[in-house]
Symmetry: D2
Subunit: 415 residues, 4 copies
């Protein structure tokens, strides 16, 4: 309702502004028994953090995550994971002259129109900085999925910057190349061109739009729900939550406008998708002849809003960053004056390179949420199959060693 929460069974609740004291994220719905590594979360945060390359803002934020709750001896206990990320390089003082004169195309005016105030220290809560919380939550979801019985894999890469369009890449190429270059593109040649283009716009004091392609593999078939909670509906919310997104395509996307029914529809054959392999890995017996599988994947892994087991893929478009050091015109609603405004400082010339981990995070969160809703992962404890419950501890917990039981006293400090 208030914009701070995402998900149903797997839920994140976030706080924090760009130039506030700290960012924070509470993650609910993590089953007990997951070995949760702060370091693994940090790796994704590092992929998003500012200052990682010449084509990102030089704001110096280590984005160091600290887990405050929900863990015991490195394993989740089923209680919420509280995470805090301290802001280290906030500089809010610089903005004050323009409190009542909004920067063009930022959220300055709209936040003021809604709240009667806003954080004048930068974008406040509208800043993309806030996605640091999402990446932290995604890092939790990723680890839950990795330790589940399913082999879900998610990856994104930058497929377009300005007029530089990457070639279609295979899943393997995306995995191999996309983290090797500063623009996070799976096509090395295009990556180089993109990098040059971004440099050029940065030098000119301008910025440029772009797009990301993503793929989710191993998501089991039969996941999702009819109508308003279909996979597309919830991905639609997830992708359009990301700041500066102006387009979200699923499967063949916009090209569907000109495709005929005979082109678009796909016959059924017997086969094995990554997802059925993933399910088989989870202990289900494979069938000799395989399972029904569509010939082709123009449908993007979804039919009737529910998964077929084929890869879910799509593309997301970002408009150009609206912060760049050109002089622009604004008005002051307090004084009635027209004013010139020049937004100097530290900016990204293009958004998708740093948005790759954000897209992946929202996909991890959304897929895990559907896995829990669809009963594929035990909501209370990861190491049991859903429906199997006993009071034994999971293997990772220290056991009560009878040798130690020389005392019958337990000390408890109630709060």
């Amino acid at each position: 309702m208030n914009g701070n929460e995402f998900g149903r069974l797997f839920r994140l609740t976030t706080f924090g502004e760009s130039h506030g004291d700290a960012m924070g994220c509470t993650v609910s719905g993590v089953p007990a028994g997951v070995e949760l590594s702060e370091e693994a979360i940090q790796e994704d945060l590092d992929r998003r953090k500012p200052g990682q390359s010449m084509i990102t803002t030089s704001r110096g934020e280590p984005d160091k995550v600290s887990i405050k709750s929900g863990l015991q001896d490195g394993y989740t206990t089923g209680t919420p994971i509280g995470m805090v990320i301290q802001n280290k390089d906030a500089r809010s003082g610089k903005y004050e002259p323009f409190i009542t004169a909004p920067r063009p195309s930022h959220g300055d005016y709209t936040y003021s129109a809604k709240f009667g105030t806003r954080n004048w220290g930068g974008g406040g809560r509208s800043s993309a900085r806030e996605t640091v919380n999402w990446v932290a939550a995604g890092g939790v979801a990723k680890q839950v999925l990795a330790q589940s019985d399913y082999d879900v894999q998610i990856k994104a890469h930058v497929c377009q910057i300005g007029d530089v369009v990457a070639d279609d890449v295979t899943w393997e190429e995306m995995l191999e190349h996309s983290e090797d270059n500063e623009v996070r593109c799976g096509d090395p040649d295009a990556a180089e061109e993109m990098r040059d283009l971004a440099d050029e716009y940065q030098k000119e004091g301008d910025s440029i739009g772009g797009a990301i392609y993503f793929e989710c593999r191993g998501v089991p078939r039969g996941l999702g729900a009819p109508r308003f909670d279909s996979i597309p509906a919830r991905l639609g919310q997830a992708m359009y939550s990301i700041p500066a997104v102006t387009d979200f395509e699923l499967g063949i996307g916009r090209d569907a406008r000109t495709a005929t029914g005979t082109d678009y529809t796909e016959d059924w054959e017997f086969g094995e998708s990554e997802a059925t392999a993933s399910e088989n890995a989870s202990g289900d017996e494979p069938r000799a002849r395989g399972d029904p599988k569509p010939v082709g994947n123009d449908h993007g892994g979804i039919q009737g809003g529910i998964t077929t087991g084929d890869p879910i893929y799509g593309e997301v478009t970002w408009h150009a960053p609206v912060s760049f050091p050109k002089t622009q015109e604004t008005v002051d609603w307090e004084t009635g004056e027209r004013k010139e405004i020049t937004v100097t400082g530290r900016h990204d010339p293009v958004l998708p390179p740093r948005a790759v981990p954000v897209v992946e995070a929202m996909l991890y969160c959304t897929v895990l949420d559907f896995m829990l809703l669809g009963g594929r992962i035990n909501p209370d404890r990861l190491d049991d199959r859903p429906g199997e419950y006993d009071t034994d501890y999971h293997p990772s917990s220290p056991r009560n060693d009878p040798e130690d039981a020389d005392t019958h006293a337990t000390t408890v400090d109630e709060d």
Copy 2:
């Protein structure tokens, strides 16, 4: 969670399958005191209903809505509006030979994979027939908005079928022309071409994709919420709930990929948008010099996820209908056989013409939900401004005529 509910303060909950007994929709969050007309709802249902033209399925459904609750003397009472629409031309028997052999690209397989069963009488709950409920709910939202202090107007039209692309049309052209032709296109020349193209595909026993352009005017500035409940996020869910959608663009959409920051950003000037006019109509005093207003509307009425007061616009893409009478291949997961399947019967050759009222309905519902969440409409009673409460009846209610009060007995039949 289960896909049957949409919205937060203005909520719809639906039931019904394509070939079941009845469709139904419960609408919560309608303020008291709205004069609600079944006929007005019916008008929108008639724009969506099958058999309205040669390029729609010939299934014979009157789609007659019946309001079961929430009204007194034609005015809402604040309690939920229950609506039922009887199915009249369901023919489920025909499908049975293919219970375990899914139709290509329908939801047959995925529903079976999820539920272990499905309605074999057509698409069941995955059928676009279910959007009849949404249009009924949208018809309620439209009437609430029309009687509010704001002048919100929403319209959509078909902007592309196959390779026929309509010219950009003005708001007035869209209003004037789009309901005049069977494809619901605001560009009469393109409409004719689109109609011919649809005919052609229908004759060939094939189908074709297309797209809708929409616009929301008069939505007040400052509406929406940060992050996961931004206007884009909730529109993303709304538009991607619609069956067969493969792309949703907001504002300049996909074109943002190649736009620079200087191109995309818009200076601020003083002016008056439809929305501020709408707000002024609601009793707020206009300012002599106007309000801050962006020069241009590449931003599509939204900055930082919150409205600027400029029109919200975008485009939605549908893939071609997957029902057409060509022979296709499928497999029977029970017998292991490969089979040929021919889906005869009554189909649409293209989806957008009948999806226009569906898009409008989802926009009405979403905008009203945000108006309630943003405190622009009194959630309990329409005829008071928010925050003004007394126990007087609204003018539309019959008053207690003292002349009639010749008795002090009231009879109550408790259930």
Copy 3:
């Protein structure tokens, strides 16, 4: 938010007013494959319906439920169950002289204060008539639970009317006797006294308060969630949703005020509760030595907000019905006059006898909701254990008979 919805994964959404056209309830979250009987639901509705005995209102409502969706050949399909119950004996005309003069202690004034209007045909949506929808939903939940792998049993009876207090009864006595007498009390002697007392108040034109005791058996241990979604928290909402409730006690309830810690706490021993028996029935292997089990059940089946496997029990109190044919005083807020008012008509002299099926319904709904949230029942399909998914139909579905497959054509009538 608007008061029409209850539950999380198992959800009901209701519409309807006491003297409106129809009552209705949409139930979401019913797994596919449940054999759902309208007759079984009707049995519970008949226990709640008016006119069933001399100590209930004589309003003539058959309360005949009609299922509109979600079923195929008698089995659920996983899609929402839409139910409609037509009102047959609504008589709203009689109330009009008192539109602006509220009946004492009804919802007349408060509904008017909120909505600026109200249904002057009786209680409108505040009427206990609306619980007909809850009993219908509870009838669905009961059948889902009965066909699950667990042996959950729920029963309630009237334990007090006025100063007549029933003896403590065993589970078996409650089952045996409580539906044998018109007051629904498991203690036959007290039942007779209660009946006489109710008669007496009815003759005097007065009414009286009372209470219900309930018990839930076989609820598996480990169900519930910490804090705001604990079993007590959600039961608190459920029981206090019922009109005219003024007290809800769990376990030893109010008596806990004077119990010491040593009295209240219960040692652990090895044993078997109904719940572990229920779990063992569900396929889990019993342990030779039993499971930990508290010595006694002052805790009411709940510790730390989560179930121990022992019976959950408690008591709910109702104030006296506020409709009775004595002359009372009111004021007319339109005319400023003081007025005498006599509420003649058809009333219950005491509420608990007809509230027994309502309490049971809310318990069935709440327990099932927790069973789904806790992963004990597969949310998509009842006949598989959670986590086991394939595309085979459940045994109750008609199979594709190869003999019939003499045609490869399937006819589909798209809406």
Copy 4:
């Protein structure tokens, strides 16, 4: 769903365990423009904190709250309030010998049965320590209400410990005396007896139950919603979320069992309640003759689930603390042994004295939530009446001083 969230428009999301690193609470739905004081929150935290008197546990927690987000120059901005409270005196090591042998009547067994693990450092998330988050959130709600146009006042006191029952106290007596004594009782004589009783049980190594009476004044009439979101339903959830609660009575509560209809119902007269005074303070014009007001308040401020404007009152019962240093019996589910267990350490002998601020906090949160849902407080900005929106800053914000506008450059450091 997962137990970490409470409320609808005003929402809290909490994390933290008794012996973890930190407790935390994110509060959503706070309007912008509220002057929020950390010190004021701290005052309530200090009333709840351990070690405040001889009859509370001696665990040494300063419970110092730190606000991490949502504030600018001391005023809220409409974005979420993130709060963290560091744990300082956690001592988890002491419990380990009893990992697989549950303490009697704690959540040890049930948490293990649910999650397959638990925090063996005390109660973990089931500990009453977690209510520190609730009191912090309540402290935010209290300040929002205090700065609203309404004069809502909430107070609770301990009305019973063991068999010591306080006399009925007036609102003024409760305000004057209840914070003057360590048991927080508004009847000074009873307070002394209660204190002695608590001492006695503490000396014996035992504990005792008790109860709290609460009152909410100035809540405007017409607040609440029908059915599942009635005031009683949401208070039922709120009060039963509090650990160790076994009874919740509203209005005359359990006594309603023996009250007749004529006793219970209350005629209407013209008058002025605190709530109408509160509304009048909010700018509504008083009526010459007053408003309809019930003669008496047996109804506890609620009719038909919605407020009348009279005080809402009720009582809540706690069972005795289950931690005390007597030897008890338990079983080890790992070894199959029976064991003796003695829970030494620091405990409260009775819960209500420290639960007073917890009850008040949950009431503040619930009432504010209903005020927002009922449109009584502008959800976006406190200093405007609902429905009045402009882009001016609220008076508390620093304005753009034209003298300072000697530069047209604003520096922004995007993250």
